[in-house]
């Protein structure tokens, strides 16, 4: 599946995950918590989809994975953004903003101005 074919949700999820990791390396659960809290429970992301996204990004070279210890000294898999990941975040953010703006214009348009 090429990046262009990803559906809306998938693309959205990717940009959210990249955004989460842009602060600091974190494990999957921390990413899930970041999205859940950041969205103010507005939308639900299935955790399974989140992990799939993480692993796919690892395959694509956007993130590196490494085993480390969590705050509670448990073994956890940590994900860190790579240079390619940062580049992806920038372009995904841009297209997300364009998308939001476009949707916004449509939502505020009246039939006369079309």
């Amino acid at each position: 599946m090429s990046a262009k074919e990803l559906d809306l949700l998938q693309g959205t999820l990717d940009v959210l995950v990249l955004r989460a990791l842009s602060w600091q390396p974190m494990h999957g659960y921390a990413v899930a918590r970041f999205i859940r809290q950041g969205s103010g429970q507005t939308f639900k992301v299935l955790d399974g989809a989140l992990y799939t996204a993480l692993h796919r990004m690892e395959e694509r070279g956007w993130v590196d994975a490494e085993w480390g210890a969590s705050d509670k000294k448990k073994r956890a898999k940590f994900y860190r953004l790579t240079t390619a990941g940062r580049r992806a975040l920038r372009s995904e953010t841009q297209s997300w903003n364009d998308y939001v703006a476009a949707v916004g214009r449509v939502m505020t348009a009246t039939p006369e101005s079309v």
């Binding site: 659960y29 299935l46 399974g48 989809a49 692993h55 796919r56 969590s70 448990k74």
Partner: protein
């Protein structure tokens, strides 16, 4: 699998963390678990998806690691090789020799058998037509047809295939002795269509231009002929090529690379009639003459045609069209062959049979080289065992270590490949010239197929030669050597090395026996009495550029008049005149002997016209009777001389002298048999005894082609100078002619070639094998000696004499070699039947040959062992003991 373990660990951590958080928010453990699960979605699906992604990642990572390790191995190996340059060089040279020999042989066999001619579209589809035809030696597949047979083939296939034919020959371009010889192909216009040849410049000739009654004097030239003779000038189109047979205008240049479909590269193509202009003296034109039967017929079957059916049609057509023909009879079968003519189904020439044996020889050389390389690598692996033991102790896996050692040998093999390719470039050309010196080869000996073959062989040899020592050196008990010190040499390892030396010796014996057998065969064949005093004979005649009926009619008598002038040249003992050069052709006649020919078939009447001095000049012995009278003149009583084969066939157990042979018609005047000559060579050495009849050119009882060829006998050393004078005489007598002078030795050279080739190449390869094998003996013994210097020192300290030590070392080295020689003799006996048919006057099991080879090999091995043995004898007991 670690991928699954990692996924499970990651998900477990997720659920634990989430439940912990939910429990902290006040949920029961059970509720927390349910909520975490519902937030997650389908766990099994997710796990499967993750597994798929992760194993992809893992695979990719493994590949990258392997590549890294490989690069490291190569760098490490290169460094190791540089540390021991002498051993590395020895290995590279040995392998280069074996690879070069194989690449050269492959290059030759590839050009002849496998590589299709360049410039032909889909050459695999092209079929050559062969048919069984009668030869002096019996029925045999032949690819030449007369024109009416070709027409019958075309009619029989009736559109099921596109058929064409061609005739290849040579012509002089321009006039006189210095005129260059070009290869000319005469073919109808369909030739280009069937082969799919397009013009590079100009055009090809059309069907309108290649009629039977009238053809345009036009020619298409090859691209390389265009470059060579016209410098690639476009203005060459429209220019004329001035052949003695007539001028032709160049109308086109064929696409680059196309040089016809024979081994001989064609320069010029022209319509069949233009190439084979009908001489005015000849009553039957070539398309009605069944004697003009050298047309090669090729075809490209239509898409839906079945080859078997096509061949059957051709068989039918040939049987019908050749009714009453001497060559093709009612049982003859037609078959199709590939575009490479050597692939048959015709008879394989002796040269090619020798070449295929030599391919086997080249492989043996490579095996010997590999054995030697294994030996050298083993020696080095053993001397490096401390390093290897340390690596094993440090936890390097055995497979990793084997990979490292094999990389090293493959690297060596690749270095050898570079040297081998250079050698093959040279060797391939050399082999071509040795085997078929007259062929104008169309393309270079090396092409990508040869390179691919050489690369494949080099990699296999590298793997083979590296794997054995690598497995040995990395065996687990080697770690013991770290503890045990360095002096002991595990006995099994020296067994392996001895085995290698033994097999080298054995294979060398096989090659050397082959060399001796071929050298003997060559000598036998050269000393065999073929009825000609080969070394003392030379032949001389002249060719004319054009026809001149007055001159041509007077030619025989003028040649006859030259006999006495040539006889007066210093160095010339005897001169005679004969009809044809002994291998240049033959004439046949119908004849009626006063013998009972109902009991057995009358032999073909091969007829030779000679002058009276013929027999004492050539050395063909008269077994009975006398030669022709010197005072014979036209109108006198007719006489004839038969050879022994003819006498035995016509008058078995009777006296042939005084019998009667009538030539031409049953009621022709009687020619009395006045002598019986030895059965001399007719056309080739391997022919069966050929019956023939001799008549005098002065008073021929049959219509014969008159004497054209001067036979000169003289002292072998003075003959070349004498023939120069003969050339001057011919030039003066026939101004503007082209004298053609050859010695009988030159004429016989192609006949000797199979044995000559076998002798040269078996000897070359045999000596190479011997050198490599003695290096093997030398290095094995030297190595053993260096390991045992301590022991020798002790022995000498205890009072052993130097000669005792020498004896000990040499006898141990020789034991192996003698075992190898015995094995080699057995192998040579077994392989004997492969070459038996190619030998001359000697059996493959010839005991003298075996003995010579065995003695030589043992003597050389002894010499190779003596050098390290002397070193052992001189070992200083003090320093040997102090070293500990």
């Amino acid at each position: 699998m670690s991928v699954e373990r990692d996924i499970d660990a990651e998900l477990r951590f997720h659920f634990e963390a989430r439940m912990e958080e939910l429990v902290a928010q006040g949920l029961s453990r059970e509720d927390a678990r349910r909520q975490a699960l519902s937030e997650f979605g389908d766990v099994d699906d997710t796990r499967a998806a993750l597994r798929e992604i992760d194993s992809r990642v893992a695979r990719r990572r493994n590949r990258a690691e392997l590549l890294d390790a490989f690069v490291h191995d190569v760098v490490y190996s290169a460094r190791a090789l540089r540390r021991t340059p002498a051993v590395s060089l020895a290995i590279v040279l040995t392998l280069a020799l074996g690879l070069g020999a194989n690449a050269s042989m492959f290059s030759l066999l590839d050009t002849i058998y496998l590589r299709p001619p360049a410039g032909v579209v889909a050459p695999g589809e092209i079929r050559r037509v062969w048919s069984e035809q009668r030869f002096r030696t019996g029925m045999q597949f032949w690819s030449g047809f007369d024109y009416s047979a070709y027409s019958a083939i075309v009619r029989s296939l009736d559109g099921r295939a596109r058929v064409t034919m061609y005739h290849a020959g040579t012509r002089r371009l321009g006039r006189g002795e210095g005129a260059p010889v070009v290869h000319v192909v005469g073919a109808p216009s369909s030739y280009f269509g069937v082969l799919g040849v397009k013009p590079l410049r100009g055009r090809l000739y059309t069907a309108d231009e290649d009629g039977l009654m009238q053809a345009a004097p036009v020619a298409v030239i090859s691209e390389s002929f265009w470059q060579e003779h016209f410098g690639g000038d476009p203005a060459a189109l429209g220019r004329q090529l001035d052949f003695a047979q007539g001028k032709v205008t160049i109308i086109g240049v064929a696409a680059p690379g196309f040089r016809g479909i024979d081994l001989d590269a064609a320069d010029v193509w022209m319509p069949t009639l233009t190439a084979l202009a009908v001489p005015p003296t000849r009553r039957t034109p070539w398309w009605q003459d069944s004697g003009i039967n050298g047309f090669q017929v090729v075809l490209r079957p239509a898409r839906n045609a079945r080859e078997g059916e096509l061949a059957q049609r051709v068989t039918q057509a040939l049987r019908q069209s050749s009714a009453g023909d001497f060559r093709i009879d009612s049982t003859a079968v037609a078959e199709f062959g590939g575009i490479n003519i050597a692939r048959g189904p015709g008879k394989v020439s002796n040269e090619m049979q020798v070449a295929s044996r030599l391919a086997g020889v080249a492989i043996i050389v490579l095996l010997i080289a590999c054995a030697n390389v294994v030996n050298l690598l083993l020696a080095r692996a053993v001397s490096r065992r401390r390093e290897i033991a340390v690596r094993l102790a440090l936890g390097v896996s055995r497979s990793r270590l084997i990979r490292l050692l094999v990389t090293e040998s493959v690297l060596l093999a690749l270095l050898a490949l570079v040297a081998a390719i250079a050698a093959a470039r040279w060797g391939g050309g050399l082999l071509r010239n040795l085997l078929m010196p007259k062929i104008e080869w169309a393309d270079a000996p090396l092409d990508w197929r040869v390179l691919a073959f050489a690369l494949f062989v080099a990699l296999s040899a590298g793997l083979l030669a590296g794997l054995v020592p690598a497995l040995q050196a990395s065996s687990p008990d080697l770690t013991n050597s770290l503890r045990a010190g360095t002096r002991d040499d595990a006995p099994y390892r020296s067994r392996l090395r001895n085995f290698l030396v033994m097999s080298q010796a054995a294979l060398s014996v096989v090659l050397l026996v082959g060399a001796v057998l071929f050298v003997q065969s060559l000598r036998n064949v050269k000393e065999h009495d073929f009825g000609y005093a080969v070394r003392q004979l030379a032949f001389a005649t002249v060719d004319f550029d054009s026809r001149d009926s007055v001159r041509d009619a007077a030619f025989p008598s003028r040649m006859r008049a030259l006999e006495s002038r040539v006889a007066a040249i210093p160095g010339v003992d005897r001169v005679s005149l004969m009809q044809f050069h002994p291998k240049g052709g033959f004439a046949t006649t119908d004849y009626f002997p006063d013998a009972d020919t109902t009991a057995h078939k009358k032999p073909i009447g091969f007829l030779t016209g000679v002058t009276p001095s013929f027999f004492e000049t050539t050395g063909t012995k008269l077994l009975r009777g006398r030669t022709f009278p010197t005072d014979a003149s036209l109108g006198g009583p007719f006489t004839t001389i038969v050879n022994k084969a003819m006498a035995d066939a016509l008058w078995p157990n009777q006296d042939p002298i005084g019998r009667c042979v009538r030539f031409g018609k049953p009621d022709a005047p009687c020619a009395t048999v006045i002598g019986v000559a030895q059965t001399a060579l007719m056309l080739s050495i391997d022919e069966p005894p050929t019956p023939r009849l001799y008549v005098s050119v002065d008073n021929p009882p049959a219509k014969i082609y008159t004497g054209r060829e001067l036979v000169v006998r003289g002292d072998a050393r003075r003959l070349p100078a004498a023939m120069k004078s003969v050339r001057e005489i011919l030039r003066a007598e026939f101004p503007g002619s082209i004298p053609r002078i050859s010695t009988m030795s030159q004429t016989m050279e192609p006949e000797y070639r199979p044995w000559d080739l076998g002798a040269k190449l078996f000897t070359l390869f045999g000596v190479l094998a011997l050198v490599v094998a003695s290096i093997g003996v030398f290095s094995t013994v030297s190595y053993a000696v260096s390991r045992r210097m301590h022991e020798f020192g002790v022995r000498i300290a205890l009072g052993a004499r130097g000669t005792d030590v020498v004896q000990l070392v040499v006898s141990e080295g020789l034991k192996t070699v003698v075992a190898g020689v015995v094995a080699g003799v057995l192998l040579a006996l077994a392989a004997g039947k492969l070459v038996a048919s190619l030998l001359y006057g000697i059996k493959p099991s010839d005991p003298a040959s075996m003995a010579i080879v065995a003695a030589t090999l043992i003597a050389i091995a002894m010499a190779a062992a003596l050098i390290p043995a002397w070193k052992a004898a001189r070992s200083d007991p003090v320093s040997a003991l102090r070293a500990d």
